[in-house]
């Protein structure tokens, strides 16, 4: 569309800087593993279930291996060498024995045994990856059979009761009311749990625990509804927090369609260790790439903690970084739901024009990405009447700038979790705008050299400057110094650091090998 007259040289420079800033981080991610990466490998290799205290067997097994030989070799070889030695053919049974202290782990000294263990691990991991592949094909088939969402943007609605059995009818009702995408918000505590809860859950705080069984139940329910409605309803959850890699693996195995997965959100907003996050993130994105899952990044969060005008360029920088990390991990443009949000204070003069400029900038920088457009939250005051108006303008910007995924704004944001009527009124708002102005982008061209173009150029310019600083300081230093948001997050602090290990020379991970096309 090219409505902003962006200088291709500046755009190319921004991308080159993002790549330069990101390269050392990728190197870090390639040379480290984490407990959660190893647990994800074991999940794909077939470890299932949890002990009587609800601690998953993958946690027990990784902890046992780690106690004997550390994480630096990866757990796959020690685990599959032990299977051969003990004559066990079910890896969950091995986990149970290991938890009882009946197995010791090591890396075989004999080459034959080492090769055999690697081969067995690769075979087991491939079984899990085949499930992921089958699920991807199944999604494509169902979209063909039921039909796809009737238009862009996809309408994205949230359910969050804490009880999966309450969530299901709510999600089905939301889909019938017009939602193309259902997101099940997680319980607030989950991102900092270093294990994934097991089974169907009926209690949560401001959300529902993400478990493999909950994923399965919701996907099955939405498949029914998709059939009934004649359009495939997508399901979203979160690959974030301390168990990001496992969430990605579970999502792939249960055919979730989109996952929230940001490169820096956990660091900045959850105080998770930066190295842990980058390692986990790379692995999870490789899995998403394989599974055909669309990621949603979290740039909206910058704008809720900082001023949306002053910090506009940090969104652009984060989008560029997210794009770089995503491409590096094998994701394609159609899988990049890069985030941004309508969070400028409505009292600011020309706030709507500024929003338009920022949204259009994102659209033109990433023409092939299905951008995720997030509604106002920070300036929703409890005045539901004004909130509904703001949401209308938010929807209008979405229509005018061709956003791919539109999270439906609720005028009761900051008041209550959405009521049935709130959702209906919010959807009515979306429908009105999309029916009345859905194609307005065909006519809307900002004046050359006018306010919107100038603002977009200004934000891009500031983004380039910030990227230059990040390259000069290094990404980890920039994060440590509070460059993103106001939070300072040094690389040697934060939650989950003790679950990170540098690769030893013989590190082996059959899933990464398969995802990177290695043998």
């Amino acid at each position: 569309m090219e409505k902003l007259g962006l200088d291709p040289g500046v755009v190319a420079r921004a991308r080159a800087l993002a790549a330069e800033a990101g390269a050392p981080v990728v190197e870090l991610a390639r040379s480290h593993t984490t407990v959660s990466v190893e647990r994800a490998v074991l999940r794909l290799a077939g470890v299932r279930g949890a002990d009587s205290d609800g601690i998953p067997w993958v946690n027990r097994l990784v902890d046992a291996v780690r106690a004997d030989v550390g994480l630096g070799h990866g757990v796959s070889v020690p685990v599959f060498a032990a299977m051969a030695r003990e004559g066990i053919d079910d890896v969950t049974v091995l986990a149970q024995k290991a938890a009882a202290g009946a197995v010791t782990f090591g890396v075989p000294a004999k080459k034959v045994e080492l090769v055999a263990a690697r081969r067995a691990a690769t075979r087991a991991a491939n079984v899990g990856l085949k499930v992921v592949d089958r699920r991807r094909v199944e999604r494509e088939r169902l979209i063909k059979r039921f039909g796809d969402a009737p238009r862009r943007p996809w309408i994205y609605l949230i359910v969050a009761t804490g009880d999966i059995y309450e969530d299901i009818p709510q999600a089905q009702a939301a889909a019938r009311a017009g939602a193309d995408v259902i997101a099940v918000i997680r319980s607030t505590g989950q991102s900092l749990l270093d294990y994934v809860p097991e089974g169907a859950t009926r209690e949560g705080f401001a959300g529902t625990y993400a478990t493999q069984e909950n994923f399965r139940l919701m996907r099955a329910a939405l498949d029914e509804t998709s059939k009934e409605l004649g359009r495939y309803v997508r399901l979203t959850n979160y690959a974030s927090g301390l168990c990001m890699p496992e969430m990605a693996a579970m999502a792939g195995m249960e055919r979730l369609d989109m996952m929230l997965n940001d490169s820096m959100y956990g660091i900045l907003f959850r105080d998770i260790n930066p190295i842990r996050t980058f390692v986990d993130q790379r692995f999870s994105r490789q899995v998403h790439a394989r599974a055909g899952i669309i990621i949603n990044t979290g740039e909206d969060n910058y704008l809720t903690t900082a001023d949306a005008v002053e910090a506009a360029h940090t969104v652009t920088v984060s989008q560029l970084m997210n794009e770089f990390f995503a491409h590096e991990a094998g994701l394609e443009d159609w899988q990049l739901g890069l985030g941004h949000a309508f969070e400028i204070n409505p009292e600011v003069p020309e706030s709507f024009r500024l929003e338009l400029a920022h949204a259009l900038l994102a659209r033109e920088l990433f023409p092939d990405a299905p951008l995720k457009w997030m509604p106002p939250t920070k300036h929703m005051t409890g005045d539901v009447f004004r909130g509904n108006l703001l949401d209308g303008f938010f929807n209008l910007v979405g229509a005018l700038t061709g956003q791919g995924i539109l999270l439906v704004g609720m005028m009761t944001e900051a008041v209550v979790t959405p009521w049935l009527s709130d959702r209906d009124i919010a959807l009515q708002n979306v429908r009105y705008v999309l029916n009345g102005a859905g194609n307005l982008h065909e006519d809307f061209v900002p004046a050359p050299g006018g306010f919107i173009q100038r603002r977009a150029h200004e934000v891009l310019g500031e983004a380039v400057e910030l990227l230059e600083r990040i390259v000069a300081d290094s990404m980890l230093t920039a994060i440590a110094d509070g460059t993103f948001g106001i939070m300072k997050r040094p690389a040697d602090r934060g939650k989950g650091l003790d679950g990170v290990a540098r690769h030893d020379g013989d590190y082996f991970n059959p899933v990464t090998n398969a995802l990177e096309g290695l043998r």
Binding site: G162, L192, F205, T305, K378, S421
Partner: protein, 244 residues
């Protein structure tokens, strides 16, 4: 005049507007049911202005009507601000003169609450509503621990930072989590530190009842719409007595 009535467009008309959903399919009977509810709520006459089916078996209503209730403003109970509102400059000056060191403030969202919006609005330099946050005050040493901080971590940090005041924000209120978390927090501080050595304990959040301070064991509760300046002024008032 302490007796008032709601105001639509004429003094004393008592007009209010309400909206609600009933779990019934939309028909004449449903509309009658909505009027019946409005009547029971004290709207008489009640005017049904909008009824719309929502999903299967639900109808949304908007009702206007006259209420007969009187409100006595003399009988309203609230926590009035009982301290003077100071500028940032004055706050700094009082601390400098009376304390002769920086006043240490530790803030956090405790429990599983991940919403830092409240604590950030009060603490971050950025502040809220055009007012800078406490980090901007030269004489305040602010430690913002962020979200999902455990109570033991908070007590430990308060001790390490020699906190004069601890600010806790709670946004999530599902199953009264904000009340349970606050009680756990105050109990931990009571256990860890003797009365004279405890920092001032303050909680804030949109759903707190400002009258519950004693019951929750905190020194002060701040509700919706509190600004950093109010908190700073309160800190000076409560810890250093009245200035001058």
């Amino acid at each position: 005049m302490s007796i008032v009535r709601p105001y639509g467009d004429t003094t004393g008309d008592g007009m209010v507007q309400v909206s609600f959903t009933l779990p019934v399919t939309h028909d004449k009977r449903a509309e009658g049911a909505a009027i019946q509810l409005a009547n029971k709520m004290g709207l008489d006459p009640a005017m049904l202005v909008h009824a719309k089916p929502m999903g299967e078996g639900f109808t949304f209503f908007v009702v206007y009507g006259r209420v007969t209730h009187l409100v006595d403003t003399e009988k309203v109970q609230v926590v009035e601000r009982d301290y003077p509102l100071l500028s940032a400059k004055d706050v700094n000056a009082v601390i400098k003169r009376k304390l002769r060191r920086r006043l240490s403030v530790v803030g956090a969202c405790i429990g599983t609450d991940a919403h830092t919006v409240g604590i950030d609005a009060i603490l971050n330099v950025k502040g809220i509503a055009g007012e800078k946050g406490l980090e901007y005050y030269r004489e305040l040493a602010v430690t913002n621990m962020g979200a999902q901080v455990s109570v033991p971590e908070l007590v430990e940090t308060a001790r390490a930072q020699k906190a004069d005041a601890v600010l806790v924000s709670q946004v999530v209120t599902q199953r009264d989590a904000h009340l349970q978390n606050t009680r756990a927090m105050t109990a931990a501080f009571r256990e860890a530190m003797p009365a004279g050595k405890r920092p001032l304990l303050i909680v804030g959040g949109p759903r707190f009842d400002e009258l519950m301070a004693a019951e929750l064991g905190v020194d002060r509760i701040f509700g919706r719409g509190t600004t950093p300046r109010e908190v700073a002024s309160y800190l000076v008032h409560a810890l250093l007595g009245d200035q001058k």
